[in-house]
Amino acid sequence: DDKLLTEPLSHPDFFSVKELFTLKDLFDARVHLGHKKGCRHRFMEPYIFGCRLDQDIIDLDQTMQHLQLALNFTAHVAYRGGIILFVSRRRQFCHLVESTARACGEYAHTRYWQGGLLTNAHIQFGPGVRLPDLLVFLSTLNNVFEPHVAIRDAAKMNIPTVGVVDTNCNPCLITYPIPGNDDSPAAVELYCKLFRMTIIRAKDKRRQSEAIEELR
């Protein structure tokens, strides 16, 4: 059992996450497109490649690195049987995110976030609840263009976060930010596909490893 848990940590890319996407895929899905210059957040400036006709372009090399780190981390969490909660407050993609979560066997929350969900969980749900071990944000802002409450709550409850940050988002409290577009349907579909594939891969690997251990 110990060996199952420690073995993936010795490899830098145990789940070969780099093969899932290429720079061309990101470009075709329009991940590099940001918002206008006026909407730019100060802390997103390091991730921005440049500005063309007032529209910010996100640096896809940095996005590649961040995406690889984030996917690797989600794969490890899924391998260890952690609870992953997909959060997005965009109405366009609510159905897509929920279907992705259902396909992975993980959980989703694309509706109105009640205040005490993470911080007051024992009273909201009942004693003995298990909180999510990872929060994945497909869009860090809520419907009023303010940072989602869940980022702050997860930071309070020591829950790591993975989030797609656009040029108008605050990447501060997110553990694994992924600078990229969160508005285009093509980009969000790409993210959903990538997360789904990583999680399914990680779970399959876990089942295989357990089967091999039992055979011994």
Partner: protein
């Protein structure tokens, strides 16, 4: 679990009420059902009856015999019922042994409501895709209109019962709006099964008042009956055709029974309204009430009887004149702290 860091004694005390009503695990309910069945067999043996054919009524009678109780409240007395009736149908604990919740929308708080919205939206997208396919193949879209008049959507309370979850008015209205959008699409017939789960038949409320046909007695004279009431007076009237305008009440003529002109005018009002004063005979029986109440009761009874002799238009005129409506006015009760129904005690300044 949360680690306790620098708290006061007030926070460490368990807040008993905050966790809501106690939730039962499925295993607990199953155990209760087994115990109930065992107890039922023991009880049947005790009473000397057959354990196989021991019904719930037998159980109730046996318990009432073995544990007699003089308590007034039926629910306070000892009772032995099936656990599904005792423990309210609520959510059992939603997560398994490893802590992972069963439902993928568990962390939203209102899992069944949001899963319902998710499913409905999926049906909506299905219908749109089907529509797009038909348009691509240039096929005509189906235009069969659903009968909206005879059905209604589920009420909020019925939906709450279905989902076993509390809803807010806003949630409910959003769900109904989504259903209406789904129904408004031309190809919504594909998801007819799904929509029918949320719609209910409304029985046609227009109970048209059936006007009874004329009956004929031995001489061939047409007659019809009517019943009426006013305050505590009840009257039945039989109106005969080809008459001279004679009216008999409880065996006596109206001049003797109703000495006051006002009451006789009330009796004649329906006939005067229809212009048939000298054409009908009437025999009525009346009991209860006072002088004026009996007159009002006979008036209503005769108007109801006259409906059979008259065209539908004139029935409508009678209804609008108020001849066919039961007068709802009764004596108002006296209230405590007042002298009468409205009169207050005399106000004294000092």
């Amino acid at each position: 679990t949360l680690r306790l860091i620098c708290t006061t004694t007030a926070v460490q005390r368990k807040n008993v009420g905050a966790s809501g009503p106690e939730k039962y695990t499925e295993a607990f309910i199953k155990k209760q059902i087994e115990e109930f069945n065992l107890g039922k067999r023991h009880l049947a043996n005790m009473m000397g009856e057959d354990p196989e054919t021991f019904t719930q009524e037998d159980i109730d009678r046996a318990i009432a015999y073995l544990f007699p109780s003089g308590l007034f409240d039926k629910q306070a007395r000892p009772m032995m019922k099936h656990p599904t009736e005792v423990f309210p149908a609520q959510r059992k604990i939603q997560w398994g042994e490893d802590g992972r919740p069963f439902h993928f929308l568990f962390y939203t708080g209102k899992q069944s409501y949001y899963s319902l919205m998710h499913e409905t939206y999926e049906k909506f997208l299905n219908v749109q895709k089907h529509q797009d396919q038909l348009i691509a193949q240039d096929l005509p879209l189906q235009k069969e209109k659903r009968n909206l008049a005879g059905s209604r959507w589920l009420t909020k309370i019925e939906l709450e019962e279905m989902l076993l979850e509390k809803l807010s008015d806003d949630d409910y209205s959003r769900f109904i709006q989504l259903l209406q959008k789904l129904v408004a699409l031309p190809c919504a017939d594909i998801e007819e099964n799904y929509i029918q789960k949320f719609s209910k038949e409304v029985p046609v409320q227009l109970q048209k008042v059936v006007i009874e046909p004329l009956q004929y007695d031995e001489q061939g004279v047409a007659f019809s009956t009517g019943e009426g009431k006013r305050k505590s007076a009840r009257a039945t009237a039989v109106v005969y055709d080809n008459g001279t305008g004679k009216i008999t009440v409880n065996g006596t003529d109206i001049l003797h029974y109703f000495p006051v002109l006002q009451d006789r005018e009330q009796l004649l009002f329906p006939f005067q309204f229809l212009g048939r004063i000298g054409k009908h005979d009437m025999v009525c029986t009346v009991s209860g009430g006072g002088r004026s109440a009996q007159a009002g009761a006979i008036r209503l009874a005769s108007a109801k009887a006259l409906r059979s002799f008259v065209t539908e238009k004139e029935v409508e005129f009678m209804r609008q004149a108020g001849l066919l409506t039961v007068d709802p006015r009764v004596k108002e009760r006296k209230k405590p702290g007042q002298e009468g129904p409205r009169r207050k005690f005399t106000w004294k300044k000092r």
